[in-house]
């Protein structure tokens, strides 16, 4: 059940400023800054030569757990099924993802929520399972110490040092003074679940050589990097053991673990979370639509269709291009009626071939088309913006903040395309809009709910479009299928997918020092035939993943 604080959808910000509910039958007024056609620099060229060859680790800001990670971690740590983090304040978002380390803060509200959750989890903890000793037989303090060490090692994801042990035993003693042994142990659990050693992935690195600017991570830290990257949760016993035996040091060792972990079902939740965020699928729950049959069932099923599709592409096919070319999808019985296609199963979802003239690939699915449309009209701008920003990785600048935009009145007799063509004609608007609208026009055959249409009002659909100002995807196309064909052949799009996984996997936006890392990943992706699972393995092999800068104090 989605919750108000939990909606991760970014407000479609300044964008709608230039969309306007009205059509633009006249010019945009006002001063717009330097919005000249072609002013956007294309992304840096891929290839190691262009970057100078040295892959640096880049920054490694401390990473606070997200709600997704918190719930998965407490499940593995304590067997919790209640998923308390769903009620936490939502993550601050950046670069389209909710796990950007620099953006995340612990607000007062979140701090209190951590407290409440920690107490609830501690109260519900199955001590019979967690206590490694018997307080009566072994002595209370000795047993408490053993508990702190064994449970603490899992909670903090590394063996505790003496100061940590002492601090937690102090909690134990203070609680034991006026409560039972059990209550005191639960107080210790509560303290651990609120500790920064639990809530953050603490990385201080292995001791560095004198004068070195980078260092490796120690085994425990690497175990957590791997487990949170590929599983969104704490390390398993195998990872802990590898850490203890210092078997997470070489690239080969790390790769072996990564491959093992990708075969584990826990990886599926992470990939699904990435896709949910990239395609903003939860927005389907709340996006307003005028069509009365766009009900809760359809919303849920459109979400499921794309999730099943993306899962299937990633895990069974694996090829990047299948995102755009797979000639099948998943339908339920309500969706089959909604789309007007055959092959509906009696219940659940079935994989069906799509109409090759109209569908094929994620950008022809109802989820994408409906989310990036308005309540009662398609939106070439939203759809074009998505392609430009999320698939070509070219951010579109917002209008300079001193422009006065006054949209003129609507002419209801025109089609969406006709209305927005004015954007292109007015040089003041065209500077930014040429990046979006010409792409978005390619989707005009799909109405605001994602269904096929041949007319818009009184006008026959014209779905011709073009991509401008990209590195290698420029050109004309007619309709979404031809657009997707351009995208799947584009090195820029492939590099953008790499960049998106970089952002999500490393919890930060790419910086200029990451150029060579991205170039290296592009090369590895190509070498693997653009297999998406191999991309994830490649992400564990970079210096950015295996090393960190020496920028803190000593352990």
């Amino acid at each position: 059940m989605p919750r108000s604080n939990g909606r991760t959808r970014n407000p479609l910000a300044w964008l709608a400023a230039v969309v306007a509910s009205a059509a633009l039958a006249a010019a945009c007024e006002g001063r717009v800054g330097d919005a000249k056609p072609g002013f956007l620099p294309p992304p840096p060229p891929a290839g190691a030569a262009a970057c100078g060859g040295v892959e640096e680790p880049g920054p490694s800001p401390i990473r606070r757990m997200t709600r997704f990670e918190y719930d998965r971690t407490v499940h593995d740590l304590l067997g919790d099924e209640a998923r308390p983090a769903r009620g936490f304040a939502p993550e601050e978002q950046a670069y389209g993802f909710d796990n950007n380390a620099t953006a995340l803060v612990v607000s007062g509200l979140l701090g209190e929520q951590y407290l409440a959750a920690a107490e609830q989890l501690a109260a519900a903890a199955d001590l019979a399972r967690l206590l490694p000793c018997d307080p009566v037989a072994d002595g209370e303090l000795a047993c408490a110490a053993r508990f702190v060490k064994s449970f603490g090692k899992r909670a903090y994801r590394r063996p505790l040092d003496d100061e940590q042990l002492g601090s937690l035993l102090e909690v134990f003693r203070a609680a034991r003074a006026d409560a039972s042994f059990e209550v005191a142990i639960r107080a210790v659990v509560s303290a651990m679940l609120q500790s920064p050693y639990f809530l953050y992935r603490v990385e201080l690195g292995a001791p560095a050589a004198a004068g070195a600017t980078t260092t490796t991570l120690d085994g425990w830290e690497m175990a957590s990097r791997l487990s949170y990257f590929l599983w969104g949760t704490m390390p398993d016993d195998a990872l802990f053991e590898a850490a203890a035996n210092d078997e997470l040091a070489t690239p080969a060792q790390i790769e072996a673990q990564a491959r093992r972990m990708l075969k584990d079902p826990r990886a599926r939740a992470v990939v699904a979370d990435f896709h949910d965020q990239l395609f903003d699928l939860p927005a389907l729950d709340t996006i307003p639509k005028a069509a009365p049959d766009f009900d809760d069932v359809i919303r849920a099923d459109l979400k499921a269709e794309t999730r099943l599709f993306l899962d299937d592409v990633f895990w069974n096919d694996g090829r990047f291009e299948a995102l755009f070319t797979a000639p099948w999808t998943y339908v339920s019985e309500p969706l089959a009626r909604f789309y007007g296609v055959a092959g509906a199963p009696a219940s659940g979802f079935a994989k069906v071939a799509v109409d090759p003239e109209r569908r094929g690939g994620v950008l022809t699915q109802g989820s994408f088309l409906a989310i990036h449309a308005r309540a009662d009209q398609s939106s070439p701008i939203h759809r074009g913006k998505f392609v430009r920003e999320k698939l070509l990785c070219q951010p579109i600048p917002p209008p300079p903040n001193d422009v006065q935009i006054n949209a003129p009145a609507v002419d209801p007799e025109t089609s969406t395309r006709q209305r927005f063509e004015q954007h292109e004609k007015d040089p003041v608007c065209a500077g930014c809009h040429h990046l979006m609208d010409p792409i978005g026009f390619g989707f005009e055959h799909y109405d605001p709910t994602g269904r096929w249409r041949d007319v818009d009002g009184k006008t026959a659909i014209d779905a011709s479009g073009r991509i401008l100002d990209s590195l290698d995807a420029n050109g004309a196309f007619d309709g979404a299928l031809q657009l997707q064909e351009r995208l799947r052949r584009s090195g820029q799009v492939r590099s953008c997918v790499v960049t998106q996984w970089f952002r999500y996997g490393y919890g930060r936006g790419e910086t200029t020092v990451d150029r060579c890392t991205i170039a290296g990943l592009d090369a590895a992706f190509a070498k693997a035939g653009y297999d998406l699972r191999e991309l994830l393995v490649a992400l564990t092999q970079t210096p950015a993943f295996r090393l960190r800068r020496v920028d803190g104090g000593a352990r």
Binding site: R3, S4, R7, N10, P11, L12, A13, W14, A16, A17, V19, A20, S21, A22, D34, L40, P61, I62, R64, G87, A89, E92, Q93, N100, T102, V105, S107, G108, L109, L110, E112, L168, E170, V171, A174, V183, S190, A191, P196, L204, D285, T286, P288, A375, P395, I396, P398, P399, P400, N401, V403, Q404, I405, N406, A407, A409, V410, G509, G552, G553
Partner: protein, 454 residues
């Protein structure tokens, strides 16, 4: 100013324990033991609505010497004698620095600063922004006057979506946004979750245990802060302050709730807080809880954020079909759209009238809660379709403990920046040592003529 213990005196319980109008007769009792009349706590409440207003229906009709309220303010007519309407106060600082027009409005509104140049929120060509670049006025006031109440401040929201620079107006410090709680049941649990009575031995033991746990957490945060990079240290220090705030609340002696303050009824857990149609119901619950929280002196600094910049709220209950932001971009000549926008803002004013009405119906001494409260109405824009941030629709409502005379329409000279208003708000809450707020280049000092003492 009365001692903190005053807030823990006996409140009268309303019938059924659901009292929201709590006559604070105890203040009168205590007052008799003091030399002068009892001093009631001053409160300040920031009331945010999004996407600008319809100026022609907002600005009063007539002249400042003799005016009547325009359509959008008609619902506030019963409070006309405690209303101060400001004209020509600009969000000047928001025209400098990076960011798009909604980002800068939101980011500057309570901080009086430009956004940080940063790379969190993408805009190419050097336009990327970070968060707001300083403490917001509500958090600043809370840091000074809020240390004696269980919550230094309370932030509530109504369907605030996402956590980005478009949706956060409160900042504890630069790049430390403060999220509002948008879920009424969670707000209730947080505000009125009861540890039991302070005299209850079990509750006392729990409090001690909590403190001991939080001490350990604080130790870890302090220790870890010393080992990490400078940037990470900032985060951990901020986290440490959060933990210390919670500990301080425990130190204030007693559970979360003062001894005899009557809890309001808990909101229905079954309310679908994501359904757009429930926006009014959620707003009502949040307003009720906020009144109760103020009445129980859980805080003296609060904000209620209705949606957020670039609001997607569809006013279905007024026949609306588009999101607020989309609609706000209709041209001036689109009469139907402007009419609907006006009705939407009238609706927001009706909610404000409800909130103010509840404060007014709560007696405090010889006056009411509203006499001792200052509600500050804010918006990140002045005009939605042009994104104008000149002549912002600032409105003050309530007596502010005598700081703000009402019944006035104040026209300031063009070029007046809202930083001056933020200074005045500090003064209104007793912080008269404040001479500037936010970016000093945009601040001359308090707004002349706004407060009683000028």
């Amino acid at each position: 100013m009365s001692a903190p213990k005053l807030s823990r005196r006996n409140f009268l319980r309303g019938a059924g324990g659901a009292a929201l109008a709590l006559p604070l007769l105890s203040y009168v009792d205590v007052g008799r033991t003091h030399a002068g009349p009892p001093a009631f706590p001053k409160r300040i409440v920031f009331w945010y609505t999004p996407d600008g207003t319809v100026q022609e229906a907002w600005r009063p009709i007539g002249t400042p010497e003799s005016f009547e309220l325009a359509r959008i303010m008609k619902p506030l007519a019963p409070f006309a004698d405690q209303l101060t309407i400001l004209e020509n106060v600009d969000l000047g600082v928001s025209y400098a620095g990076p960011g798009d027009m909604h980002q800068v409005g939101m980011g500057a509104l309570l901080t009086g600063r430009k956004l940080q140049a940063g790379s969190l929120f993408i805009g190419a060509g050097g336009q990327s922004t970070g968060w707001g670049d300083g403490v917001s006025v509500d958090q600043y006031i809370a840091s000074r006057v809020g240390q004696t109440t269980p919550f230094p401040s309370i932030e509530l929201g109504v369907q605030v979506i996402g956590a980005t620079v478009w949706t956060r107006m409160s900042y504890r410090d630069a790049a430390q946004p403060v999220p509002p709680e948008s879920e009424p049941t969670r707000a209730f649990a947080r505000l009125f979750g009861d540890l039991g009575r302070p005299t209850d031995p079990a509750a006392a033991a729990l409090r001690t245990r909590r403190k001991s746990v939080l001490d350990a957490v604080s130790r870890d945060l302090s220790r870890l802060s010393g080992k990490v990079s400078a940037a990470d240290r900032v985060k951990l220090q901020a986290h440490l302050e959060v933990v210390r705030d919670i500990e301080r609340r425990l130190d204030l002696g007693g559970g979360i709730l003062p001894a005899a303050c009557a809890k309001p009824t808990a909101p229905e857990a079954s309310l679908d807080t994501d359904a757009i149609g429930n926006f009014p119901a959620i707003g009502r619950l949040q307003m009720d809880q906020l009144v109760a929280a103020l009445a129980c002196d859980l805080t003296r600094v609060a904000s209620l954020q209705w949606s957020n910049a670039v609001s997607t709220t569809v006013f279905t209950w007024l026949g609306g079909k588009q999101g607020h932001h989309e609609l706000s971009h209709a041209g001036d000549a689109d009469a139907a759209a402007q009419e609907l926008l006006t009705r939407m803002n009238v609706w927001y004013a009706e909610q404000l009238a409800y909130f103010a009405g509840k404060l007014r119906s709560t007696p405090e001494g010889s006056g009411t809660m509203l006499d001792h409260t200052l509600i500050v109405c804010v918006n990140e824009l002045s005009i939605g379709n042009s994104h104008s941030r000149f002549d912002m629709p600032f409105l003050l409502l309530g007596g502010g403990g005598g700081a703000v005379p009402g019944g006035r329409w104040l026209k300031y000279p063009s070029g007046t920046n809202h930083n001056d208003l933020l200074v005045s708000l500090c003064h209104a809450m007793g912080l008269t040592d404040v001479t500037t707020f936010g970016d000093p280049d945009y601040c001359k000092g308090p707004l002349p003529g706004l407060l009683t003492t000028g």
